[in-house]
Subunit: 444 residues, 2 copies
């Protein structure tokens, strides 16, 4: 993409309304714009990051055996009245009357609707276990939306729902999602720690929050550093393997400030391994039994010919929150560097020449070569000053830069990985270097 | 995907609420379910088709030089009050009050919001021409939603908006979209005819509807058969080439019943070339000048240092309507056959064996081979009777079937393209045949 054809409105100053660094960076680098209080438009650069994250989340759901469908944003209130949550939910639910005066709402979550779909279509144990998920926009009418897309009103979520004939099977589904979440966040280059959580308003007796570590996170966390070294890359979906991984996480202390117990922390964790930092919740998994299948009468036949209510769980990832969370974890106030797996462009060419000169032609030439090699390059062909270009690209955060100025020999290129020193490479060396970088990043 | 692990609730009977064949087929083949009046959930099979269509629409927008962003579903009423449409829009607009009693609405269209984004971020002619698009859910509170996803309330649209410094440039943007629509519908294997249209409530003086031909379409159309032979596959985005193509379409008579003039039809079209059939509107393009840029005060600087309001156009494709429209055009009441470019699975394996027998093993074996060759196969491993399996697969519409029964030799397979005779192939011949079929389908 040529920057001169793109829509990337970069801001020079931090907008006064942005209080945290992810919000500042997302506005400054032209990723999002607020369209109404707590409601954002995703501009092209932000949307590319969002889509890349969404695709990793989707891919890991598919690998865990979950099946994608798509429920609508607008729901009838009927199922919520059946479950009893319509009155309970409070003002965060956006309630709507249509022209026929029927009660609708903008889905803040989907337990009712998925249970209704299940009830209307599945009658037999033979169809279980079943993991269904969707990635859809939701709305929660926060009284004080803030921190950009971190705590906004319209937001994108991935929600999975599990249906099983008994509690043991339900725990197996839970474990699959547990592992799939670890793999998802790992591919986003995040350290996500699963922490035991209260089940909250949805109810249930088994629940983990996935917290990523970031100095500027919303809540304090306390943990054993050993948790950071658990490697989940090669673990497959064998139930014993997952159980082992879960045990590893359970064996080391971790807690958010709400659950933190300082005596336990000191007793269980060596001083040198104690980590006290901050974190951001990016995922939450629950097991809640037959709460919804029962209230919505979604019974199935068992192998023995009896009726039973399936055991359910729900599993959320805050997709539109993740770009901000990743910025909080990665942005060092000098430059942003997107993880290779989700960078909006794989490489950027900073053309320091003028329209039509040799530098400009050299930039164009390498741009076409990179495009033909499917590296999705960005070419900065604007007439800004070099210092302004460098500043902008530090904001945009594409991890690899090719800098084309007039001082280099014709066959030489400055290549820079953000945060590292420039090196001099030939055209072929650049292609090979990028292939190495991006092919090593393929998930197994 | 193994059908035993999938969620594909097929119905034996036509549901009584479904009056047209696409609605019947989409319910029977488990593509969608109604969740509330005029509001649908897309089940896995339907979602795959929808996503495939969406990706072709996106790809052709990108090729035409349009840039993707994403506006939210919920909008503030403010910009609509500025443009004057808030009061005009009528009851189809879903109006909402949030907890702070502010006026919100679920976007029925996005001219106001995109103009606002443009206004807040673009000040100079240097950034034009600009084509911005998004693919997002919209809501129109139809008084009588019907015909399934064909006329529903929550629906997925692709909307592009063009911004240009003057009318001539705006016409060039319009032409680009004209060609990109022809290419999009061609890749969906549809005959789409652009017909001059009234500009309607959005206003403007240049407008085409894209109508696909289907016996069961919502409106009557009259056209010259020569229109069906215009080939747009190799046309690139050169303005003269597009002009020639547009002239070709203008040269032959076509009209919906609203605009039809029988005398003109008989005068201009030979009897043998007169086609009188029905059609479905799947796209609409408008040029409407500075209607919104002026009312929302989105002025830019010109090269000459003056202020001007950009000339705009809007270009819509009804993405979630297309699966239904394609069914209306292709379903012959005996079987559905999805176009190769959007089929939910590339090939289906109909296993007529029993769990663990030789037929079952042979099915499994070819399933793995096809999977490893990235053909995304569906394997029907259910215990239904053969006749019930054949019936279901005629509904589901995957264009290629591999039928595995006990009568064939071990190394032979029955291969069937829907609507054609079965042939006997070896494993390698199947792979090669499928490669030929699907690789010839790549867009240039």
């Amino acid at each position: 993409m040529r920057l001169s054809n793109y829509f990337l409105p970069v801001l020079k100053e931090n907008p006064s309304e942005a209080k945290i660094k992810s919000h500042q960076l997302m506005l400054r680098s032209g990723m999002v714009r607020q369209s109404a209080s707590g409601i954002y438009s995703w501009l092209p650069l932000g949307l590319k990051v969002l889509k890349n994250i969404e695709n990793i989340v989707r891919d890991e759901q598919n690998k865990a055996g979950a099946i994608e469908l798509l429920m609508p944003t607008i729901q009838s209130a009927d199922a919520w009245k059946e479950s009893g949550r319509y009155d309970d939910y409070g003002k965060e639910m956006l309630r709507i009357k249509d022209r026929q005066d029927r009660d609708l709402l903008y889905g803040p979550t989907n337990e009712e609707l998925i249970t209704q779909i299940f009830r209307d279509n599945i009658k037999s144990y033979k169809n279980l276990p079943l993991l269904l998920y969707h990635i859809q926009w939701k709305f929660r009418d926060e009284i004080r939306p803030r921190f950009g897309v971190m705590r906004c009103r319209e937001f994108l979520m991935k929600d999975t729902y599990s249906f099983d004939v008994n509690k043991q099977d339900a725990e197996n589904s839970y474990k699959k999602m547990f592992l799939s979440y670890l793999k998802t966040f790992d591919r986003l280059d995040l350290k996500a720690i699963p922490m035991r959580a209260d089940a909250g308003p949805i109810g249930g007796d088994l629940s983990h929050e996935f917290i990523i570590l970031a100095d500027t996170g919303e809540s304090e966390v306390f943990l054993d550093k050993n948790l950071l070294d658990i490697n989940i890359k090669k673990i497959d979906y064998d139930q014993n393997n997952i159980k082992n991984i879960m045990n590893k996480y359970e064996n080391f202390y971790s807690a958010t400030d709400e659950k933190h117990n300082i005596d336990q922390f000191n007793k269980l964790v060596d001083k040198k391994n104690q980590l006290h930092t901050r974190g951001i919740e990016v995922g939450h998994i629950f097991y809640f039994g037959d709460k919804y299948s029962k209230s919505l009468k979604a019974a199935i036949n068992t192998k023995e010919g009896k009726n039973t209510y399936p055991q359910m769980g729900s599993y959320g990832i805050g997709v539109s929150r993740l770009p901000a969370a990743i910025i909080e974890a990665k942005y060092n106030n000098q430059y942003m560097k997107w993880p290779k797996s989700i960078t909006p462009f794989k490489v950027t060419i900073i053309n320091l020449g003028k329209k039509g000169d040799e530098v400009d032609k050299k930039s164009d030439d390498i741009y076409h070569i990179l495009k033909n090699n499917n590296f999705d390059p960005l070419l900065d062909d604007l007439s800004d000053s070099p210092s302004s270009k460098f500043k902008n690209h530090d904001l945009i955060g594409i991890p690899f830069q090719i800098i084309i100025g007039s001082k280099m020999k014709k066959e030489e290129y400055e290549f820079k990985e953000l945060g590292k020193n420039k090196i001099i490479l030939s055209k072929n060396e650049i292609i090979n270097r990028l292939k190495e970088i991006y092919e090593s990043d393929q998930p197994s």
